[in-house]
């Protein structure tokens, strides 16, 4: 679920870049405040590699198969590092595989980074008290939020003359098509965070 090049008007693409730049600046500032930002880098990079590799492999969810997005989980495990990690992933996907686009890098960054940061906030706030619920929201909920932002941007960018009925139908189809992903991601993040909290709690702070 990436916005391709050429779909949205230039102004919107530029606004996306501004938004992503702002988020990146904020994230870098927060990372610099960590006790040992440089020492955190290898960990963030290695986890990012796993997220990136895992989302490239498809997972069967009958009757279809999905590619995990893992944005909420990235927020939970990487914190503010999720923002640069996601942008790096998006850039590489755009130039290596033609998924997404260069002009829409900023918008795609917002679509994934905002849910990641929401996932981070939810886990930090509620992970210790209601871990499963927080994991479910950080998993499936983050996908829903990303879908919503994606749909919002597409509606903003589409030609004004779009038929209202068709628009609603397209939205419904879009949501339905992604329900398996929401389900898979919710289940996987809940199970995964349960396991990590049990055997390697250092990997999931705030849990």
């Amino acid at each position: 679920m990436h916005l391709p090049d050429g779909l949205v008007p230039l102004e919107l693409a530029l606004a996306g870049y501004a938004g992503s730049a702002l988020l990146t600046g904020l994230a870098l500032a927060r990372i610099k405040r960590l006790p040992d930002p440089r020492g955190e880098l290898p960990r963030a990079a290695m986890l990012t590699t796993v997220f990136f590799a895992a989302s490239a492999l498809s997972i069967p969810v009958p009757p279809t198969s999905v590619h995990l997005m893992l944005t909420g989980l990235m927020g939970v495990m990487l914190g503010w590092f999720a923002v640069p990690a996601i942008l790096v992933g998006l850039f590489l996907q755009a130039v290596l595989f033609g998924h997404g686009g260069l002009t829409t890098l900023g918008l795609n960054g917002l679509i994934l980074c905002l849910p990641a940061l929401v996932g981070f906030a939810i886990w930090r706030g509620a992970g210790a008290r209601w871990p499963d619920l927080a994991a479910l929201i950080a998993g499936g909920g983050a996908v829903l939020l990303a879908l919503a932002i994606f749909a919002g941007i597409v509606l903003l960018g589409m030609p004004a003359a779009l038929d209202a009925g068709a628009e609603r139908a397209a939205l419904a189809v879009f949501l339905l098509a992604h329900l398996p992903l929401v389900l898979a991601e919710g289940v996987i993040v809940v199970v995964l965070l349960r396991v990590l909290r049990r055997i390697e709690p250092a990997l999931v702070p705030h849990g």
């Binding site: 396991v195 055997i199 390697e200």
Partner: protein
Amino acid sequence: MSLLQIKQLSVGWAGQGAVLRELDLTIADGERVGLVGPNGAGKSSLFHAIAGILPPMAGTIRLLGQPVRPGAFHPDLALVFQHAEDQLFCPTLTEDVAFGARNLGLPEPEVQARVAQAIRACGLDGLEERPVHRLSGGEKRRACIAGALVMRPALMLLDEPSSALDLRSRRRLIALLSQMEQALLIASHDLEMLLELCPRVVLIDQGRICADGPAREVLGNHELMAAHGQEVPHSLTPHDWVSHDHDGAVRTAP
């Protein structure tokens, strides 16, 4: 009826030509066979083909008389990977060992019994609740074997089981394997281990079987071994005392 019967097997990875060429191999029930050869000789490809991971380009593979169907689940056959980490993915040792047994659809008491037995057989008692990534190298290796044993396979394929183990762990592994009743096909560069475990050794190079016979004869054949980039194991080299040059040549002291 032989346990494993491979006939005229040719195998290759997509677009890279054949890795194994018209290979014949038969293994009897309970037999222990060592598989040696230089890196890239085709040992891993052979394992992948037998396990049904890599579909053959030609030829047949039969296990207990039934053809091995690529991609299907064959509980009669277990593959122990070279990197233990690649195959231990459950949170704790017990859960990991139980994984295969649960997938056989056995009743839970039977699963528990088999798990306890496999853990004991592999000398992992007391580590039941240990997260798998906290096990030592040797324990991980034995945990993989326990996870295979629990399915009661008729044939186990082991890929470099002794690599990266210290002497004590290696000893324990050899003792464990020597007690097993399953047929074993062991690919290894650890020729001393093969000499201890396997009465029969198969040498492959460039996708073909170059020798198949009693371990001492194959591994002790200087000419044959050298021709395929192998060294005869120390314990088969008659010598009283040796010293080594710095260039690595072995010289027998007077």
